[in-house]
Subunit: 210 residues, 2 copies
Amino acid sequence: MTDDVLAADGRVIGTRAIATRRRLLDATAKLLTEQGILDLRVVDITRDIGSSPATFYQYFNDVDEAILELAKEATEDEKPLVRLLQPGWNKKTGLEQAHHFVDAYMVFWDTHHAVLRARNLKAEEGNRHFRAVRTEANLLIMNALAAMVTEGVNAKRLPDSLDPFTTAAAVVAMCERLLAFQPEMAKRGSDKNAIRNTLATLLYGALTGH
Amino acid sequence: MTDDVLAADGRVIGTRAIATRRRLLDATAKLLTEQGILDLRVVDITRDIGSSPATFYQYFNDVDEAILELAKEATEDEKPLVRLLQPGWNKKTGLEQAHHFVDAYMVFWDTHHAVLRARNLKAEEGNRHFRAVRTEANLLIMNALAAMVTEGVNAKRLPDSLDPFTTAAAVVAMCERLLAFQPEMAKRGSDKNAIRNTLATLLYGALTGH
DNA sequence: GACCTATCTGACTGACCGTCAGATTTTCGT
DNA sequence: ACGAAAATCTGACGGTCAGTCAGATAGGTC
């Protein structure tokens, strides 16, 4: 029951409608990537699937609602990353584990960057739905990271002036933003591999204190 | 000559027009802060200064042009921050110097966050003018940071797997993004002071290796 | 006060948003 | 296989905003 798909007015919809709704979501994601949120128009989304604007409003009250749904889907793809962040990174394998996480995070980011960017903008502009989704996604990662920092602080490898939760936030911030800079940095000689190595090294250092 | 103020069509304008243009820029900044870029309308900007849309287009070809100008003004406010980032942070005063920079950066961010957010969005969505402005602003800080990292690497305090320029980018990324998270983190117990301390500690560590 | 130039704006066209009534397609009972 | 009922889709419309232009207004000069 709970996972029935609903139309904009809340009624449960059938298989044809689910397919249409799906095509609308895919088109929204595609145009968000190609044109950016500022030029995203409902007309274009529906034109893309060979339909009319009225169809869009059958399933979403506005474009935000569609983007919010995409953001929730992105969160699902982020969940597996948490498994790569367990306390216990040591001198032998820690840096390699950091690389694993960075690699997985880069794939995640590549897949969803347009939606994540839109989500973050909306969240920062104060939209509470997007805030909730972003906070939920970030907490997944941050709680795992904070546990690692706490371990490092307890073991006296990290200074206790580091607040674990804030440090976790800083690490997430760094990952997110550095990947957003990527296209510009590529032009200045920092290739993908340099970013990967540097990010892994910084993570390893900030999280473990080794 | 070069610093004459121009209208949208390129002609030099007089004092009355300069004042009007200024009021338009101020109103744009205000509404960008209050409503966000997605709900920014030319009608609202001109209504705010008691004028009509046509007036706006006398001075700017579109809203982007006004935001771009604001972004350039923000860059001017960022320049003084570079003075706070000189190689030579040592064990005695380094952490304090990191705090100085973080404090100044936080003020800068508070003042311009709406414009910077808009600038970053536009840059990330591929607008080359905004990319150029952002790159220029970031390079100011990054070059200074990269010099500090290079010093740390040369002194063997930092691992040479850290690419100086990428590390600098990561540090900027961390500062920028963490402040954007601030409102949400406040709700979870990370107050402004925790952010300040953590950021300074991480900066000090990443830049000097102490 | 008459003229010239700089500045401003009313009014218009075209595009998109969001709605609704009615058309079309699918489902289902017989 | 057929017709009625339900689900889904869309043409067409009123409202708002973007961007343009011709003409109105204000300011300066002689």
